[in-house]
Amino acid sequence: MNIESAKAFYNGSIILKGAVALDVEILKFNDTKITYHVRNVPIHTFDQHARARLGVKFYDYRISELPVYSLYTEVFDKLIKNEEKLKAFFDLTIRLEERRNKADFRNEDIDSYNLMSRNCEYKVEQEYSSLKGQMMRRLKLCEEEQIVSLHWLLRQKMIDKGIKIAESFLPGCDITGECDYIAVSDYLSNCFGALFDACGRWDYDKSVYRSFNKSCTTPQLLKEQINIEIPLSKYEIENNLR
C-alpha cells in the first residue's frame, strides 16, 4: 500500500482526497455560452451537476475504466489514519472490480457495481444565463466540497481567460447579504434542523440544531485542494474574520 497526503493506491486501485485531482478545462466560449470539460470528479458530483436542465447540455459522460475513487476529505482522512480499514477497502475494491468486469451489459449493467465515488469525466455546453444561476447555488460553501470546488475552479478559469461575466458570479448569499442556509427562518430544512453548520460567510443563528456540527465546505479546504482564495464577504471584512 502506498499512502501519500492526498492519495493512496494499492494493486491498481486509487483513492484521492476530496477535490485534489479535479480538473476543469475551458474548451471554447463566445459572448453567450461556454463549453467546458470536467475531469476527476466522483459520479455523485456529475449526478448533482447534471440536474441543471435549462440552457445547458451535458455530453461525453464517461465513467473511469480504472478503479479510481475521489472520497470526501473527511472519509479519506479517516481511512488513511486506519491502515487496517484502508487495506480492507482496497481489497474490497478489487473484489468489486472483478465482479464489475464480469457484468453482462445487457442484463445487469456494469454501473450497478460502480461506487458513487468512482471518478468520471464529462463535457458541458452552457449559456451564461444558466451558469449564473447555477453559480449562485454551487459557489455556496453549504454545498458539498467537490461541486463547490468545481464551480470555484470554473469561475477562476473563466476570469483567467478574460470572460468578464465570471467576475460577477458569486454565492447567492452575497446578493442578499445574509446566510440563506441557516438564518432564513422559513427555509423548509430548518423544520428538521440544519444538516450542517453554516460556513460563517454571513452572520447566522447559532442556536439552530445541526445534525453535523461543521460546515460542509470551508475556504481552507478550497485553498488547500484547488489553490483558490475565496474572496471575503462584506461581513467577514467588517468583522475581521478569516
Partner: protein, 267 residues
C-alpha cells in the same frame, strides 16, 4: 411553526432522532420491489385536451365549448388528439405527478438525464441516513451479497465520529435503492423515447428498466383514465395498432370511467 407540527413533520419524513434507520442490506431484483403510484393529476384531462384542441375556432364571444358539445363530438376531438391529428400542445395541458419508490439509483439518474420536459424531486443522500439502503440488481450472486454487505460496513465506518451521511455515500453503489417523485405532462410521456412515440426503448439494461417504470405509469393512469392508459401503451406496443383501437372507439364502447368524465360539466 408549532413544536408539535415540527415533531409530526420530522416523524413523517423519518428525520426524527428516535427514528434512525436500522442497518440492513437486502439484495433484490428491481421487478420485485419497485412501486409506482399516481399522486396527483389534472381534474379532467379530456376537458383540458378538448378545450385546447378547439381553441382555434370561435367568434368574438369565444364561448366555453365543453358544455355545448355532444358526447360524441367531444370523443371525436379527443380521438383526433390521441391519434396525432391535432396540434400536439393540447396534450401538454394534461399533467400527472408520480411517486416512484425503490429503484436502483442508476435508473433514477437515467430517467432524470434522458427524459425531457418533466420535473424530478428525489430522496437526498445528504439528508438521510441510508444505512438501511437495499441493493437492487438482477441475477444476484453470493459474492454480490458479500460485497454489498461489506460496503455497508464502510458506510457505517464513515458515520463514526459524527461523520456525515453525505460523506458516507462514497461507499454506496449506483445500484442502491432510491426513490423519487416526478411530474410529466401527457405530450412528454408519449415522447419519452421520441416525439409522439416515434422511438422505442432500447434493448439495454437501463432502458428496459425505464420501460418497466413507464408500464407501471400507464397502469396507474389507466386505473383513472382507461383511454389515456391505452394511448400511453404506444410506447411499447405498435403505434398503428393502438391508434386503430382508439379510432374504432365510440360512445358505446369507451369505458364507463371515461364516459363519466366526458359527460362531466363541472370541474
Amino acid at each position: 411553526m408549532k413544536a408539535e407540527e415540527v415533531e409530526n413533520l420530522r416523524k413523517v419524513m423519518g428525520t426524527h432522532p428516535v427514528d434512525a434507520p436500522k442497518k440492513q442490506t437486502h439484495v433484490l431484483p428491481m421487478e420485485a420491489t419497485t412501486e409506482v403510484t399516481l399522486e396527483d393529476y389534472s381534474v379532467n384531462p379530456y376537458r383540458a385536451m378538448f378545450v385546447s384542441c378547439v381553441s382555434t375556432w370561435g367568434n368574438n364571444e369565444f364561448a366555453q365549448k365543453w358544455p355545448l358539445t355532444s358526447l360524441a363530438g367531444k370523443l371525436e376531438v379527443i380521438k383526433a388528439c390521441l391519434c396525432h391529428k391535432t396540434l400536439p400542445q393540447a396534450k401538454e395541458a394534461v399533467m400527472f405527478t408520480f411517486r416512484v419508490a425503490r429503484v436502483p439509483r442508476l435508473i433514477f439518474d437515467h430517467h432524470a438525464q434522458s427524459v425531457n420536459h418533466c420535473f424530478f424531486m428525489s430522496q437526498g443522500l445528504r439528508d438521510n441516513n441510508r444505512i438501511d439502503a437495499d441493493i437492487l440488481i438482477d441475477n444476484c450472486t453470493e459474492e454480490d451479497i458479500s460485497i454489498f454487505k461489506d460496503l455497508k460496513d464502510f458506510y457505517e465506518f464513515a458515520l463514526t465520529d459524527n461523520g456525515s451521511w453525505q460523506s458516507a455515500r462514497a461507499f454506496l453503489p449506483q445500484s442502491y435503492c432510491h426513490s423519487y417523485h416526478f411530474g410529466q405532462n401527457l405530450l412528454s410521456i408519449i415522447s419519452t423515447r421520441g416525439f409522439h412515440a416515434s422511438g422505442k426503448f432500447a434493448d439495454t439494461y437501463k432502458d428496459q428498466k425505464l420501460l418497466l417504470i413507464y408500464q407501471k405509469v400507464a397502469k396507474e393512469i389507466a386505473n383513472k383514465f382507461p383511454l389515456l392508459g391505452l394511448y400511453i401503451s404506444m410506447l411499447w406496443n405498435g403505434k398503428e395498432e393502438i391508434m386503430n383501437q382508439i379510432k374504432e372507439l365510440t360512445v358505446d364502447t369507451i369505458s364507463e370511467l371515461d364516459k363519466q368524465l366526458l359527460n362531466k360539466l363541472e370541474l
